[in-house]
Amino acid sequence: MRLFDDRAANLAGDQESNMQISIIVVVDAAATLEQTFLEENAYILDNTRVFSAFHDEAGEKTTHVCGVCNADGSQAEEAVLNWLVTGVSSVPPTLPRNFPDLQITSPVPPPSETTTLALPMKTSYPRDASIYGHGSPVLHPAGGPILNPMGWVVIDPGKAPTGEDGETSAKDEGGGKTEAPRALQKKSIKLQSAKRFMAVAPSTNGPTGGVGKALTLHTSQDEHISHNDISSYVPPQISSIYGPAVDNGVMFPALYGSPEAKTEGWYWSASVDVSKIGTHLYYMDVVLLEAQSNSCGDGEWVPRTFTLTGKLAVSRVIKRNGFATPAGYGSLPLRPTQ
């Protein structure tokens, strides 16, 4: 039992828990890809509104970081930021990433209006690089983290499995094989217009870099799925966090790995120097995968990087002793007793 004052160790702050701030970035991927603009199609939520008591204007995308300082103004604690990003209509993060492959049969109207064909759509979970195909992950231009470990949902609507007899075959939902008409052979898949609703057939004259409204997928239930809808199923990812807040040493972000498989195992986190009072800008590069068709008619995923602006509003309050005195809450440090 200690009989002496060991305040020196206590003031080192090693017994204090840091303020953890969770920032959720919600992205409307379909709208972003449609408008090629992210700022108005993303929302930043965090858990600082309740206890910060700041007035927060809608759409300001500001995270309030309240730091604690000593009476002499020196920093007492640092805050920690954690980012999680999700899509408005993306697959839920609770879906295990080792979900087995799915086979979805999608009838596609043929060039002639009298014959109905079925084109299999294969979704693969999760993250096998060998089946990823053409949609390679992008490297940050500044040489940032490689996104390979994250993996992506792979939907290749342009490919059809080949049967043992060499003929292109398709699997129905019951798992049996049916012989597909010759029009389904890969080599015969051609670019089609929007009216045909042929899979992986984007309009080359689209306003958005070659992807227009022509790419649609026709399901067996006669339900139309646009390429942006398919793209919105894929969870967005943050590839980099940078900007004045990082350059000025306000926060120190890094990509951390987690054994939690349901969250892909990766998340961004940053420590904040709460001695730097004020509002600081930072930028996030958000990567969306867009379903497209290449010149060969194969489906592929093309990464699209968009920039989102966020703000940190850092403020400080002097740490006080919760044991109130007749004069109010006590100040720290305490003076030793006689």
């Binding site: 017994q15 204090e16 309740v50 002097i318 809450y329």
Partner: protein, 163 residues
Amino acid sequence: MDVIALLANQNPEKAVFLFDDSPADPIHRKRGTASLRSPVYPGQYVIWSLAPIDVQTPVWISEIDFEAPKYDPHPPGAATIVDQTPAGELGAAALENGLPAFNPVWARHWEGYAPLCITPGSVYAYRLGLQFGGLSGRTISLEGPSLFFPPSPFAGIPPGAVV
């Protein structure tokens, strides 16, 4: 402190784990439970710190309320939650020039000195107030932990005595 379990109305015995760094006999002090008995001496410097198991859920000590000292040689009973408010005072409602109030809950530290006039064998039970972040701002008060002044360690401790 298992914040999620507390918010889910779990028994505090399964969600709150109190420890102190006293080298005294831990058996009768219920170390690791919500009914911790911490030995202190007159003038002893005491500091409370909180570590939530789930670091993503904010929780802070909002109050430590001591009851009148009493002599109680018997170990304390199980801890209980005596008060739960759906929306407690966050301590940051007031604004001063647009900044958080004078004493927001997250800036409060809990440290002090045991009184010099405490007598051997006296027990100072206290109520631990916890405040959670989130939309509810819920508060929970926990009864059970206490400070006590054991007899002098230099004197012989009779067999069977509770320390």
